[in-house]
Symmetry: none
Subunit: 199 residues, 4 copies
């Protein structure tokens, strides 16, 4: 009796997705090969197709997993008492620990979404969920007088999300950039944008 242990199966899938993630970060979605993913995951190519139907499926699942991780992480981050301070801390964290929560692939994912409808849909759904989270958080801030009540929470959430994409391109465009100075200016930007106008 061949009992397929569903837990082990799921574990293996996760291992492969992790390995694939490392390869995609190094080489991009198209540049990474099934062979390299197999080498990284220490399995044979034939075996990989036991777990995933195609390279495309791996990419999609991997991206979903990373986006979900981001959203979960985000959900936790987003319950500080001081809404604006929390956001500013998030900007700073994004600039200093650039390598953490699966953010290395953000630009690749967005580029891919520009021409691959499946990827576009994934990004869209995740963005929509994130916007809702951020929007709620902003509303809380508005209720507490920490965020300008004139700003439409949902639209503002979308703008914040896309501006955070911009954070990822700063160091691509300027490898010798002075992180501290940029954080300072970025904090001014977000603070002035979001804070309620004085008087």
């Amino acid at each position: 009796m061949r009992t397929v242990d569903p837990i082990k199966h799921e574990e293996k899938r996760r291992e492969i997705l992790d390995a694939a993630g490392r390869c995609f970060v190094r080489k991009g979605f198209q540049g990474a090969t099934i062979a390299s993913i197999c080498a990284e995951a220490k399995i044979s190519p034939g075996h990989l197709y036991h777990y995933f139907a195609s390279k495309e499926a791996i990419i999609q699942e991997m991206v979903k997993a990373r986006l979900n991780a981001t959203a979960r992480f985000f959900g936790k981050a987003v319950d500080g008492a001081d809404v604006l301070a929390t956001i500013l801390a998030g900007v700073e964290a994004s600039m200093t620990d650039a390598k953490n929560i699966g953010q290395e692939m953000r630009i690749d994912m967005l580029a891919e979404a520009g021409r691959n409808p499946d990827m576009a849909k994934i990004i869209e759904e995740n963005s929509s969920a994130l916007r809702a989270q951020i929007s709620d958080f902003l509303r809380k801030g508005q209720a507490r007088g920490q965020i300008d009540p004139e700003l439409d929470p949902m639209v503002t959430a979308g703008v914040l999300l896309s501006m955070s994409d911009g954070l990822k391109t700063l160091s691509l465009r300027n490898p010798t950039l002075d992180v501290a100075k940029n954080i300072q200016v970025l904090k001014i930007l977000f603070a002035r944008f979001l804070a309620p106008p004085k008087s």
Copy 2:
């Protein structure tokens, strides 16, 4: 006998670069094939190599040409009398005519720069030039009291450039987005960021 005609040669090169550009927008740098570029340019694969040494060379020249076009366009845009108003108009233009000055490839170029040193160098040099332009413009605005004099012009220029990358991801993340509302919020963002604080 003295044929050669370097003008025709240059014209053909430009035609091929244009065709390549269209293919890259559709499929990405890696996804577009030499065959597809040749079909688009209506030449044979062999002939393409009369004009370019490799696919890589085509990508690089095409990207440089587009970035230069952007920089030129930018140079013209950036001499309005009212610096802040000019920037806000630029934000609005970027949101409404998203398809004009070779901007469709921005995210692809940045993604490619993340793992291709040659592309990284091209992006870096162009970004450096753009930052210098924007920085000069901001300084002018500061002299005229239109821009907050406390902001470091060069750092702020870099931040503006990267935030403008974010503009490109807005519609990727939210295809049903209300452009007018977003423009309104974005104008608030940039205006509050850059305007001199009220005394």
Copy 3:
């Protein structure tokens, strides 16, 4: 589970090398194509690269294998009691069974060595080993009074090796050549060259 079977792998490599050898004999190193080698070996082009990294690698391994076979064959041949008689028998064998021990490619290999440093190195090392074998054999003959003691064994070995290249060109230059007569003259040549002068 522990399949792998390095023996089968090695067997397949040998099969491919043999097939490649037949193609190279027919068409030369540059004239033979990967496709023709695959057809001869009855495998797909993709599969060939499971076993060899490149066409160049196939050429080199194949040449090395043939040269080693020659050297082994040579080592056995070269232990007759009568040194001079053994050499003369070798000349005769070389003229009569021209097609056996992988000698069909000798001239191609030497031509290739003239412009390919990797091939030059392979030929050089093999030649050096063969010269050492022949030299030892000649010294034995000198000790036994069968070979002229005045001849420098190493230099003479090199000369014999290169003269044996000449044997391969005889029939190329003269397809209607009378083998028997040529053997007779060649035996005179080598005998007079090597035999101790009559007191």
Copy 4:
């Protein structure tokens, strides 16, 4: 009236053949490209086909020209008073000025003849002519008592020709070879082979 100056035409052909020769020496028959020959001859590819029907035709004419040059050179060399001394001097010359009379391609030509019937025919005809020349010369030597009268002149001529091919492989097989020592041994070889037996 377009008068085709046949002398100029012939001159141009010769120039192209010379250029082709240099390319073939550097890269081999298959390795040299029409483009490289055109560059070397400073003409355009289209123009080259005014003078030659195909690459194959260039190769054949070039080889014929070189072989004829060799034969002419040979004809002159071969009328010394002392036949054996002339041959030994030829051996020495062949070892010291390896780059003179178009001999750099000998091995390539022979390799090509092994699989290309057209080339085989060319080599064959030239070899036949050379054998006749050498044979005549040997006969003269026999008449003068300088060459062993027992040797069949025609067969011996063929053997000498092929042994001279071997001279070309000496330095291919042993790049650090001591030319002086080899010349010495080679002279012994040819002298003992050809000289009339004492008493």
